[in-house]
Each structure stands twice: as structure tokens, then as C-alpha cells.
């Protein structure tokens, strides 16, 4: 049975699209037929992060309006055979994204794909709502920073009250916490909320921790999902998180700061 997973956060700039790209790639690398949909109508960016921006011909709104068949709008990923991208429209406004239209597309995708990853826009308006409405599971992307944690809490409230599962009284959307842009040394210095703090506040199970890293910018510069950047801690962290999502028991990494010796603290190491 195909699963619909929304990548959401409320707040912008926390790493939803970076996560959608790497998460979808990770699922595909493990042999799952996967499609990732950009719901940010008017401000599409998933195509750039996936490196397929020059191959966009039709988009989700074209499919909803019947201007193009779904199969013609899907773009095959250049790294993974099992992965396809459905881009958002750059020109239309977000109201063109009707719930009935989105439902039709998701139902059609369910016939072919194992996982349907929905990359939500920021905010709590129509685009974000359409992205989360049909979700079976949710990755709540959160930065260790007060406004991000608060917005994640707000999104969790919306998932619990307004998603299709909530409205129809089905089993609730399964929620996963993904902490991104994590800096263990700043946490150790008491300058940043810890993963434990965030988990205690949001009260949902932790799926993974992605460290703050320069390789994320390098990945987006080159249009390569961060999970493909060899030997980077971000790629390792995303692979771990995908493995946990698939049910593997993988210990958390990249959460502890490197030990700084007393000598270094006294004499300065930097």
C-alpha cells in the first residue's frame, strides 16, 4: 500500500525542500518507487534542488487542469531510477491547487509508487494545507530555534485537527521529528536548544538529526540532493534517517559535540 508523507514545518528556511529531496532520494536508493511533489505553487524550488530545472515542461497545475497527462509531467531523477519529480507551477497562483485535483493525482500515483513525498510550502495557508491534507505520515522539520519550534507545534495542531485522517476520524497522521541545522558544540555551550529539549517540548518521536553543514549549500549549488554528497555528515545523517523510517534500528549520530580538552579551553584552540 502506497504511503503519502508530507515534509512540513510551518516556518520557512528550515530545510523542507533539502529534506524532501534527500528523503525521497534515500527511499529510492533503497529500491522503493518514489515520487516527490513540489506543493510550493508560485515559488517552486524542488526542481533546482533536484537539479532537473531545465527539464520541467508540465507541472502539477497543468495536470490538475487536464492540460497534460500525469505521466508527461513526471520528471525522472538523474541519480535514481526509481525516483520521479512532479514540479510545482511557477506562474499560477496557489488557489489553482484544488483539493479534488490533488486527490486525483495522489490516487493515480498510488497505483504505481510505493512512497509519495509531498514537499510543503512554508506557512499554514492553502498550499501547506493541500500538501498535508492527504498525508499518512508527516516529517516535521524543525531547527533548534524558538520560532521554528513554535511553528512546528502549530503544524502538529493542524495535522491533528484538519488533515483528512483527522476529519474522517481515521488513525491519526504518524508524526516524525527531524531536527535540522543542528550544531552539537553550540548545544554543549548552552547556546542552542538540544534535541532532547525539542523532543520534550513537541512530544513526538525523533526520526533523525541533521547537522548544520557547509555541504548543504554545496549540494544546492550543484543541484544534487545532499544525501549524494559523498563522505559528508549530512548525507550520512539523511541515510540514517531513511533507514529508521524504513524500520531499521540505527543509533543517533551527530548529536554529541567533539570533546574540547581543558588545555584547549585554557590556551584557545582556534
Amino acid at each position: 500500500m502506497a504511503k503519502v508523507i508530507v515534509v512540513t514545518s510551518g516556518k520557512g528556511g528550515v530545510g523542507k525542500t533539502t529534506t524532501s529531496a534527500s528523503f525521497a532520494s534515500g527511499l529510492a536508493m533503497r529500491g522503493n518507487k518514489t515520487v516527490v511533489i513540489d506543493f510550493d505553487v508560485g515559488l517552486r524550488n524542488l526542481d533546482l534542488i533536484m537539479g532537473c530545472e531545465r527539464r520541467v515542461v508540465f507541472d502539477i497545475i497543468n495536470v490538475i487542469n487536464g492540460d497534460a497527462a500525469l505521466s508527461r509531467a513526471l520528471i525522472k531523477d538523474k541519480h535514481c531510477d526509481n525516483l520521479f519529480v512532479l514540479p510545482a507551477s511557477q506562474t499560477r497562483d496557489k488557489d489553482a491547487l484544488s483539493l479534488e485535483g490533488v486527490e486525483r493525482i495522489i490516487n493515480e500515483l498510488k497505483e504505481t509508487f510505493d512512497y509519495i513525498v509531498c514537499d510543503s510550502p512554508a506557512g499554514i495557508e492553502h498550499g501547506a494545507f493541500s500538501a498535508l491534507y492527504f498525508a499518512d505520515e508527516a516529517l516535521v522539520v524543525t531547527n533548534p530555534e524558538v520560532s521554528s519550534v513554535r511553528d512546528s507545534d502549530r503544524i502538529l495542531g493542524i495535522l491533528a485537527a484538519k488533515s483528512k485522517r483527522a476529519v474522517e476520524g481515521l488513525d491519526p497522521v504518524k508524526e516524525h521529528l527531524l531536527v535540522t541545522r543542528y550544531n552539537p558544540s553550540r548545544v554543549a555551550a548552552g547556546e542552542m536548544l538540544s534535541v532532547d529539549d525539542i523532543q520534550e517540548i513537541l512530544r513526538i518521536p525523533l526520526l533523525g538529526v541533521i547537522p548544520e553543514s557547509e555541504s548543504v549549500l554545496q549540494a544546492s549549488n550543484s543541484g544534487t540532493p545532499a544525501i549524494h554528497i559523498d563522505k559528508s555528515d549530512v548525507a550520512e545523517a539523511y541515510k540514517d534517517m531513511v533507514a529508521r523510517f524504513m524500520g531499521d534500528d540505527v543509533p543517533m549520530r551527530f548529536v554529541a559535540a567533539e570533546k574540547v580538552s581543558l588545555f584547549k579551553r585554557l590556551f584557545g584552540g582556534h
Binding site: E145, V146, G190, L193, I201, L266
Partner: protein, 93 residues
């Protein structure tokens, strides 16, 4: 920084860390916002208020705004709070 400064910092120990402040502030504001969210959810509250007004009106004249119906969360319990302010000179019908 000189050796002395570093040594002093090390011995002085931490001041109140901003991460601790962040956590405390979030716990307070989110408890408040969650309570507001949950209280606003039940859509039967306005109807309940109308019917209560009708019942009360059989016995006492009160203004519409003198009846308050609220649902609050106190820890694990939901508390339905009815607040009826009676007029000063009660007129029994």
C-alpha cells in the same frame, strides 16, 4: 584572549545559558497556545450557550453577554466552565 581571561572564564562557570531561556519561554507560550487551540475546537459551544440562555430566560432575565461558556484544559482534565452573572435586582418571572 589571554591565558588569564580563559582561566577566569573557565573558573567562573556558565552564566544563565540562552538555550535554557529558549526552552522555558517555549514551554510557557506553547502551553498557552495549545490550551487556546483545544478550547476553540468544540463547535458545540455556541449552540450550548444558546440553549442554556433559553433555559435561564425561563426563570431569570439576563443579558446575552452575562453568560459565558468556556472549555479549559487543566493538566489532564478538560474543564467546562459556565459563568452566569445574575442581575442585581433579580426579577422572578
Amino acid at each position: 584572549m589571554s591565558l588569564i581571561d580563559n582561566l577566569l572564564d573557565y573558573l567562573r562557570g556558565p552564566e544563565k545559558k540562552t538555550a535554557v531561556m529558549a526552552k522555558e519561554r517555549l514551554q510557557i507560550i506553547l502551553a498557552h497556545e495549545r490550551a487556546g487551540r483545544n478550547a476553540a475546537t468544540p463547535d458545540y459551544l455556541p449552540a450550548l450557550q444558546e440553549e442554556l440562555l433559553e433555559v435561564i430566560a425561563k426563570y431569570i432575565h439576563i443579558d446575552r453577554d452575562k453568560l459565558k461558556v468556556q472549555l479549559e484544559k487543566h493538566g489532564e482534565y478538560d474543564v467546562l466552565e459556565l459563568n452566569v452573572t445574575l442581575p442585581e435586582n433579580q426579577q422572578v418571572l
